[in-house]
Symmetry: C2
Subunit: 429 residues, 2 copies
């Protein structure tokens, strides 16, 4: 028979069990932090009408999109979780109770050229807080706080760099450079890569205020920012917002480093106020794993209702991929089972009874009922790296005493089943 090669598309993660278990644990932890903060779960279709998904997108984004026709429908696969959320919030604007706080964890798709490390299918973990009309700046602080909590729970250090779109916007307005905004922001966006000198050189081609611009982007504390003299309403509003945000963060006390950094640009997308990025620390060069910000009118492409919002997106697949490639993940086990029950001789039925009791006590377990030798069953348990085994022979059944073996230490507790369950339940807590 002709075989088809079992291959996977480039840029699509597909994990063997020990890695999938760690990936899912990370996903679960992010979800639990979101829910701990009272966010509602949300889901949207992976496919949408192209006119809906592309209501705003342009140029680069559009090229990356998986788009096709089925029947009479022009269809796109979602490329982020924000545009579908905008549609969702317009669609359900009469059912949603505002302020609305949501989270969504799901796959998004971007058909980029499969460069090194670029994923085409990846999980994003988003949270957003939206309200009718105005939205408290506390919401921006809450996003930063939740982002920090996520990485505290995942046990990785990040640095959250915060700016506000109104700062550079107001300054450019003040210098009468509004029309050069795109050009200037594009140059500033590369500043961390190309260095200050080269940035200055590039800016000087456009404006004689290059030095002043660079002086502002070098500001890195709220105190210094307050001393900057730029007589512009937008700029001053940005300063006031940043000040308020950092004051609330003093109360929320995120455990990860949070800094003011006016070099955060966040492309040319829909953000209108607070913008931030998070870099994973400890890997040599900092790696961007999350970004977010404030948008004034989420659903403007779909509705007349003004919805102000702030959100953050965590790139889970990218984070996992980077940690994996840098050997920073520990793959401890190949199974979700906590106890493998091994029949010795003709005791399978009794093993099923034990597994039933364990499951009633919320202990994940499995029975090795397969027609294999005892030795190969032990070998299986070893290779699976299951935390515990219980071997059940006639003797054990007669004495109603079983041995619970810790596979890591080799230590065996011999006791009645009810007591072994206590040992296992304590371990679970």
């Amino acid at each position: 028979m002709q075989k088809t090669k079992a291959k996977t598309l480039a840029g699509f993660l597909e994990l063997e069990p020990r890695k999938q278990i760690v990936f899912d644990n990370m996903k679960e932890k992010i979800k639990s932090v979101f829910e701990l903060n009272g966010l509602s779960p949300m889901d949207t279709p992976i496919l949408e009408y192209s006119e809906v998904l592309l209501a705003k997108a342009g140029g680069e984004t559009e090229k990356q999109i998986y788009r096709f026709t089925k029947g009479e429908n022009d269809i796109c696969m979602r490329f982020d979780l924000t545009v579908p959320f905008a549609k969702y919030s317009a669609k359900f604007e009469n059912q949603l109770i505002f302020p609305f706080k949501r989270y969504q964890i799901g796959k998004v798709f971007r058909g980029e050229r499969a460069q090194k490390g670029r994923l085409r299918e990846f999980f994003q973990c988003d949270m957003d807080i939206i309200d009718e009309g105005e939205l408290s700046i506390c919401a921006d602080a809450e996003c930063v706080s939740v982002l920090s909590q996520v990485f505290e729970t995942l046990d990785y250090f990040i640095k959250i760099r915060i700016s506000n779109r109104k700062l550079l916007g107001g300054m450019l307005d003040f210098f009468c450079l509004k029309e050069q905004t795109t050009e200037i922001l594009n140059i500033l966006d590369k500043q961390d890569k190309i260095g200050t000198e080269k940035t200055l050189e590039e800016l000087l081609k456009i404006t004689d205020k290059a030095k002043e611009i660079l002086q502002l982007t070098a500001v890195n504390t709220v105190e210094k920012l307050e001393k900057v003299k730029i007589n512009n309403t937008e700029f001053n509003q940005g300063v006031a917002e940043i000040k308020q945000l950092f004051e609330i963060l003093k109360i929320l006390k995120p455990k990860n480093e949070v800094v003011l950094d006016l070099k955060v640009i966040r492309g040319l997308d829909y953000y209108t106020g607070t913008i931030f990025e998070a870099n994973l620390l400890g890997l040599g060069e900092p790696i961007s794993v999350s970004a977010g910000g404030r948008y004034d009118n989420l659903a403007e492409n779909y509705s007349n209702k003004k919805l102000a919002g702030v959100g953050v997106s965590i790139g889970l697949s990218r984070l996992f991929d980077i940690l994996d490639k840098n050997n920073l993940l520990q793959y401890k086990t190949n199974t979700k089972s906590q106890v493998t029950i091994i029949p010795l001789g003709n005791t399978t039925n009794f093993c099923f009874d034990i597994s039933k009791t364990l499951k009633e006590n919320k202990i994940n377990c499995d029975v090795l009922y397969f027609d294999k030798s005892f030795k190969s069953k032990l070998n299986y348990a070893n290779r699976k790296k299951v935390p515990y085994i219980i071997v059940v022979g006639e003797e054990e059944i007669k004495n109603k005493t079983f041995g619970l073996k810790d596979m890591e230490t080799g230590f065996v507790v011999e006791d009645k089943l009810e007591n072994l369950i206590k040992v296992l339940r304590n371990k679970n807590e």
Copy 2:
């Protein structure tokens, strides 16, 4: 500004928060049952090379598939979780530890005509047990048991109808009707709909053994099946397997009804032994919500390694959709928050401290820091149907005593925060 209509493709579920919360709870419960039974999580890409996904598929399946070209790649969206699993098990055949037990919960896509109730994007929840070479019949029983456990946990009754492909196969061989298998099975598949008389009529057009065939499909207990005299090896093997399966089920004691039903046909797909279907009870006509069975060689399209397996698939989105449309779901709340903390006056910062303490105690909560009147905050909590609120004014802070209000009963417990936490933690257990 020109608005785009916020519409969703037909056949794609998109749920408002109160429904999404219930949907996610169901998904979580299914997942926890899978993990309780020691199954490993698995995920595969939503997109695959068409040659991989369509290695076996034909005719009807292929018409339904979302298929398109991106760059040089001919791509399909997955239409089930079994074909990707077959590819996965071939791809990782050297890393997987056999027997391998997996579960997968994910979206699949079928571009069917959007008939009433037909979904084009839906969650399937699959489990499979595979082994190299031969696989114990215990695995078939385990699938039936896990399926039953899922519905016990979801708290709905199902009836699991079991047959074995070898029974009708062996009989048709015995009657020298092997070549008419497709035709005959197609007729038998409609038997429950068109009735016995009409079935007989149709069968008589093909064979004079119509009556004998119908007599066999009417057999509904293992005892009766054992008395059927068909001298055919395949048939007898089917009887032996069914007998063994039901014997193991007596040990596993699934709480849902499990019956022998030779009218279960399961189309003409890859099953080779045990086949079963589950119908949701209590809705007038029985509705199919799950199906599964035994396949002799999962990965034959991709590998020379023989992998025998058995699996079951639960149609979560379809199940949810049916329950929803029949008003059988209770939508109790619009939030995952357990406690909403409401500042009265200028106490928001203190409220943040309280929320921090609650979160440290694993209590989902949120603070209403929004710039709204106290009345509208109470109204918000009411509409959200949050289980509890704590109102925090200057007085409460001074006395270090807070009121925890149960929003359903209106009952208020006034106590120190640490004691209120105990109340809430007890509720969570």
